[in-house]
């Protein structure tokens, strides 16, 4: 596929059946195809196995939606999410589908701003706007949305979102003491009951054991991808790797893991042969911070357009999603849920305090990925990441790691300034 010919395929009849704003959505579809064609298809030396992921974008508003509609027809649950805190193993155990909903585009923000205050997180506004404007097919197909209390903007938006689509809220603890784990364990059990109600099925220990394996395997495949990115020259661009991490949130998990592993075979072969997408002299940047929901490729695009390569994402759409696995050797339901709870309590989201483990994790990933500098990215108005940035900066100064912090939203208006900052940061790395 050439850049000019890349197309996200239209499915107007299906969209009509989902009660969407079809003419408007069709324009968004065309724009996504154009942007994707320009940003992705023209990259040099792309791995061949990226073809599957290109196809996943081409079919993002069609085939994958149809698969979910089919699942739903069988009475299996479809749960929409915005957070890595969702125990997706429980949904998969019920035969259902967990899908990360749209929230990475400026196009839906005006819809949200008809209702929500303007000075809140762009991801929350974007997501809410997709539902208000009826311009996200995934939103239209879900049985319910899983909400969490990771930040104030989300927590309060769920109350309003619940008027448009059923929203089940789980309380995320803010500290990591024994009583916090107990709270989360109870929340996980409530969530399981909710899922069982929707699909009118009781989840068995076998169901859950199988689901834990499926999701562990998906996470293992992504860990493998992260590992091979540490080689120099980089065998895959940061944009492509980020894309895969984004697709992880909506693809069917067994197929996805298989395709990521196929890609890793190719990348490991490249690494053995010393081949890459860019010369080994290109600066290697690790990105750390807030999630970049599809199609938010802004920062990666700027970094790579300036001649560097992104080698790691310490982010929810990144390593935070897949660095930890669940113990697969538990036999009773309570033990399984306890092991699951343990795994989820390891997530080092900035909503926790004091969250020192995230700083350690950042430094570990910096070393493991053979990066040469850290770019901290925070969405505008994301107070927890923005403030935690102070500790990240201090740690980088202490370790002598070249560091740049940027705060941005989805709008293109600051691209010129960001470009200057990023290029100056790369000048610092190059020395």
């Amino acid at each position: 596929m050439e850049a000019a010919r890349f197309e996200v395929k239209p499915y107007p009849e299906m969209w009509e059946s989902l009660d969407m704003d079809v003419p408007r959505f069709d324009k968004a579809r065309q724009m996504l195809g154009e942007v994707y064609g320009k940003m992705f298809m023209s990259q040099p030396n792309r791995p061949e196995k990226m073809a599957y992921f290109d196809d996943m974008i081409s079919e993002i508003f069609g085939r994958r939606i149809q698969e979910m509609i089919d699942v739903k027809k069988e009475g299996r649950p479809i749960v929409g999410t915005f957070c890595v805190y969702i125990p997706e193993e429980v949904v998969v155990a019920a035969g259902g589908v967990c899908v990360g909903l749209c929230g990475g585009s400026p196009g839906s923000i005006p819809d949200a701003e008809k209702i929500l205050p303007r000075n809140i997180c762009p991801m929350v506004k974007s997501a809410f706007g997709f539902k208000v404007g009826k311009i996200c097919p995934y939103f239209q197909v879900v049985d319910f949305v899983y909400g969490e209390t990771t930040c104030d903007a989300k927590k309060k938006t769920w109350e309003i979102l619940d008027r448009l689509v059923p929203t089940h809220v789980m309380e995320i603890p803010q500290m990591k003491n024994a009583r916090d784990k107990t709270l989360w364990f109870e929340e996980v059990k409530d969530f399981k009951t909710k899922v069982e109600e929707v699909c009118q099925k009781t989840i068995s220990t076998d169901d859950l054991a199988a689901a834990i394996k499926v999701i562990n395997n998906k996470r293992r495949a992504l860990q493998r991808l992260t590992k091979v990115r540490a080689s120099s020259p980089a065998p895959i661009s940061g944009k492509d790797a980020l894309l895969i991490e984004q697709i992880a949130f909506y693809d069917e998990p067994v197929r996805f893991a298989e395709k990521v592993n196929e890609l890793c075979d190719e990348l490991e072969e490249r690494a053995r042969n010393g081949e890459g997408v860019i010369d080994s002299s290109a600066p290697r940047v690790m990105v750390s911070g807030t999630p970049m929901a599809l199609p938010n490729w802004k920062v990666h695009n700027l970094i790579e357009a300036a001649g560097a390569v992104v080698v790691n994402e310490e982010s929810c759409i990144g390593t935070r999603y897949f660095k930890d696995l669940i113990d697969e050797n538990k036999s009773t339901m309570d033990e399984q849920l306890d092991a699951l709870t343990d795994r989820y309590m390891k997530i080092d989201c900035s909503c926790f305090t004091p969250n020192y483990e995230r700083i350690d994790q950042i430094l570990k990933e910096y070393k493991d990925s053979n990066a040469q500098g850290i770019l901290h990215y925070s969405l505008q108005f994301c107070h927890t990441y923005n403030i935690e940035e102070i500790k990240v900066r201090e740690a980088c100064e202490k370790e002598g790691i070249p560091y740049l912090s940027i705060e941005s939203d989805y709008s293109p208006e600051d691209v010129g300034q960001l470009q200057t900052r990023i290029e100056a940061f790369l000048e610092q790395i190059r020395g």
Binding site: E407, E413, D414, G416, Q417, T420, R421, E423, A424, E427, Q428, G431
Partner: protein, 248 residues
Amino acid sequence: MQVGIDLGSRTIKVAVVEDGRMIDYRIAESGFDPHGQALEMIKQYKPSKIVATGYGRHLAQKHFAHDVITEIKAHAIGARYHFPECTTVVDIGGQDSKVISLGANGSVVNFQMNDKCAAGTGRFLEIMATSLGFALDEFGPAALESDQEVAINSMRTVFAESEVVSMKNRGIPPKDVANAVHLSVVNRLTAMLNRVGFGESIVFSGGVARNPCIVKMLQERLDCVKVESPSAPDIVGALGAALYADRC
């Protein structure tokens, strides 16, 4: 002979270097056709190399420049030409304000830039001057005449502008409002300086360094450090680019 060209948001600056010394420079409005303007400005020189910086650096590289560096690096190099020991550079241009911290060898170790809002930039001062009926070069001297301290709270350009309008309508004299506008820029700048940290002397570059009120207020605010400016502060970036061309 090497040429450095700084294609900024408001003006284009050219500096010409021979054997590591600046031998000429020029400044002109960017206008509607920065590419054409830039070509016009450099046509009389026969440089072995041209390095571009500023917002239009990539446009210049596409058409005539051999290499590009960012404004951050350019100002670091240019400031060291005038003040070889300096470790902190403050630059206020048309669209950006920056604080750059240099290592002992002159390399950039840290920097801060204003966010996407124009607040704290030359453009902000220009808008405020117009709103108060001053020509830009009268604005700083007028503010210096004020002996009344009034404060502007907002740093967002549009809000600050409405605050200025309401001050005018309360009958506050323009020179006092002008003083408040200058103070707000200096407050913003000091906050950035405190974030980055600074040494015993600060080099102030960019067109706003020609504003006597900003210089005086900055010096007063940072009374234990020396604030210095080269005689032509606008061309520090272009000079840095030319010197970079000379070295590489």
